[in-house]
Amino acid sequence: MPEAHGRMTVVTERAGVLQIGGALDETSGLVELVGRAVEHELVLDLGGVTFINSLGVRDWIRMQAAATKAGVHLEMRKVSEPVVHQLNMIVATRGTGSVSSFYAPYACDACGREESRLIDAVANAAALQKMEAPPMVCPECSQPMAFNDFPERFFSFLATS
């Protein structure tokens, strides 16, 4: 059962692993989540985050600071595109946590399908370091999909995470 934190939802997948969804804004109270870490580890699954505004960004930065102060390591997984957008715009949001996977935009030249695809940041670390997007296949026509952004821009958030 999801817990409502304003317009944000939290589902406890298991101890220390939280699925975050909805909007991160002035109602989210992200700092409280740091207390749910287990053995100084907190995993945030951000695949369901659809929106984050400037107040959500401030809350996010406070959460990062609180985690650092408490000695908690944050792992961000399935980071949604709206969150990646903020991580790229605002260096302070990256904190000292790590990103294990994230969504990225792909488009199929053959059939025109556009889709957000999940990238494993650990398995593809070498390619991502070179700002190369991992290859993807279109689920509709099985043709290769092209990365649908500038890699240097979109992957820049990985530089300090």
Binding site: D25, T50, F51, S54, A107, E114, A146, F147, F150
Partner: protein, 311 residues
Amino acid sequence: MGASILIVHPDRKTQRAVQRILGVTGYRIDIADDLDQAIRLLAHAQPVLIVVDGASVLGPQAGPFLAAAKAAGTEACMTLLGGPLGDQVPKLLGLGAVTNLLVHPMPVLAEELTITAHKLIRGDLFGLEKYLLWGTELHALTLTRASQRADQVARLAEQVRSLGQSARVASMAMLVTDELLSNAVHNAPVDAAGEHYRKDLPRDRELELDAQHQVHMRWGCDARYLAIEVTDAWGTLDRDTILGALAKTDVRDSGGGAGMGVALAYRSCDHLVFNLAPGQRTQVIAMIDVRYPPAERVPASSYNIFVERTP
């Protein structure tokens, strides 16, 4: 000599391209290859608009040139930049001699240049209709309570998606709209002493918005741009606040007030227009280019700041 438009650019091809676009206004077009020549021309001309090469205007002759423009009664200076804005915006902060500041990465779009010229020449600055194709359906709403912001932002995203636009466009629209509405509700109002009395209120606190405090929003999409317009009845957002926010390289430095919202909105759209009527109303129009996928778009935004003439 009557009113004219002055183009200052060292490149002949650019001169001709801009001349062709602006010639349709019917104004006489004067052309200078550099700022020295422009200063000489300004001694005898009263250009309503100057279009100037960014590299030139960031050089040492910028001061005398802008002083000459101001003395000639020029109200707008459009700066054409050769690359992304990021590094150049701080330098543009010094271009305060003319009232309106218009910054475009190259290649400048003919349609934007034409719209800008007509706005200035006619003295008719407000309204997103100027940026959308004829016949585009406009949606309008008024915030009468602060708590309506989140619902309206979510509703906008649904409507944008229902028009066939991508999740990314909807996401950008949500962010821009939320920041502009939030600014208009919380940062725009001032008391008699000029104090922004709502800027530090918790954003989740309910506020009834009377006629003075209500915020008006319109949006439309013509398959070229998704345009979002937010208007407040205060007219307190000033040019220095805008430029200060745009100049920040890291948004977190923007601090409280309107800065962070403006900075995020700027980074989330392709063209941002500020129409300012000091003490009366502020209108911000954000445009998201929906024609091209992100990988085919220039990663730089343009911005225009227009200030309404006082009668």
